[in-house]
Amino acid sequence: MSNNEKPQKTTDLHIGDAVPGCKKKDPMLVIDHVKKTFGGLTAVDVEHLEIPSGVITALIGPNGAGKTTLFNLLTGFDTPDTGAWSFMGTSLSGVPSFKVAQMGQVRTFQLTKALSLLTVIENMKLGAKGQSGESIFRALFPGFWKKQDEDIEVKAMELLKRFKLDTKKDDFAASLSGGQRKLLEMARALMTDPTLVMLDEPMAGVNPALTQSLLDHVISLKGEGMTVLFVEHDMHMVRHIADWVVVMAEGKVVAEGPPETVMKEQAVIDAYLGAHQETDLGEVTGRINIIKGEDK
């Protein structure tokens, strides 16, 4: 599918065996006993989990495994019943979501949240941190923020070019297609200069060609020194770009490890991948005759 050279994987991230909850050499996020229940349903119950810094970690698992809930908990969009977690050594328990984002841990959403009636460039500029014109008193006098705003615009345009949205800059975000909104949301998140980027299904609903360029963007984030944690169902993508994979099922971490090994674990196949992972769907359903052994 890709004729790019294979991205350099980072290996040797963990200490000891790659078992659920294993220690990492350089953890960025450390999660302890985080539990969240909705009525009788335990959505998330993570004993211990460490997310390594400077690499791309994929969070996979069946629908309802608690991946998005864990995202919400880690970013302060939801509060757990019990538990503690820290980001680069700072405890994040009880820290409101906007402060989490200010600390450099930024997220995107599964259901894309483009700000529809703002233009693409306004969406982007909103992402920049530490804007003096966002304080109400300085906002009244452009002298305080004009220069900074121009610098932000330059930076926003560079990012938009990278994401091929620069021609859309003055259009309302509402006029973008679903895939373009995904791109815009990711680009906007990057405007905050994050340390940790958390992407919730960045490839869902994006066409194959665009997936390719999104993949390159995600890999380039790692190249720029950012840590990436993402939720994804596309196993090709996970295998292609993830350095580390965490598998969740029924709220618990059931396996973790480098993608090559973790996807062969029986627990992962049972809980998530299914026995027919490598088989063509036509063969599974028996509706199409598959000619085997040719140009695969």
Binding site: A101, K113, L126, W145
Partner: protein
Amino acid sequence: MDWGSILNNTLAGFLTPTTIAFALAALGLAMHFGFAGLLNFGIAGFMAIGGYGYAISVLTFGLPWWAGMLVGVLGSVVFALILGIPTLRLRGDYLAIATIAAAEIARLLFLTTAFTDVTGSADGLFGFNSRPDGSGFQNSNPIPQGTYGFGPFTYNEQTLWVLVFGLIVLTVAVWFLWALMRSPWGRVIKGIREDEEAVRSLGKNVFAYKLQALVIGGVFGALGGIIYTAAQNISPGVYVTSLTFFIWTSLLLGGAATIFGPVIGAVIFWVIQAFLSNLLPALSTSGILPVSTTQASTLRFVLVGIGLMLLVIYRPQGIFGDKRELTFVK
């Protein structure tokens, strides 16, 4: 029918203290709803607090007029904080319910006989614009006694003073809103209107921004109430829920997410009101409308309701709204 007098009275609706008061209050709603997406159905409450804050400070506490007006503004700030702190964390619809209830509570507090000494109860308050000790608003009137203007725009020195003062306040308010909305602050506010979770995920303190927007819009509402009160006596019967909806009509006429829309909307609203309140009774007296004169003048409110419905269905972005917005209305 006397078309001359109907036309004259209609034109007079262009510039009255009431028109200016409506424009200010609609500007407050533009801040709340048009830009920040806060559903405030209690703008009449903010106006009442502005007006009563001014009148009570002058009559009961003997403050000079400008200090009284400042008290009215501060009162609306406190009202916005009381309203906003518990409700702004909730979804938008809850704010709508809380504001409509809070505005009614404010009105009933001014109406109840328990505080007649201070509020004048159902009779309201009067005599605060001109004070025997010379500290009243009209005592500071720099305009010499006389009649000014021409045709439908003829005013005595008292009305003219309210108009001049009101226009200055309105100009400052328009500038303030314009300056805010072109700034990065305005960008955050508009972002919150679209999706507050997204804005929160970018590290903005959404609650603080919403509270600021609520306070600013509330102050505009209070200023509207103050200008209204500076031109006449104050009575609780004015600040009923229908006042809120008239101001909503003005806002939606002009365009909710615009700066000049609310001002022009208020003018159009009052010109139409003046036109209908003169035309309909005249039609009834000349036998064209088969209703009594009283019924005819109430009919205009029915027409306002129909107009409001047609407006939100066919032109939700208002007269001055961006046409592109309509394409993407959710």
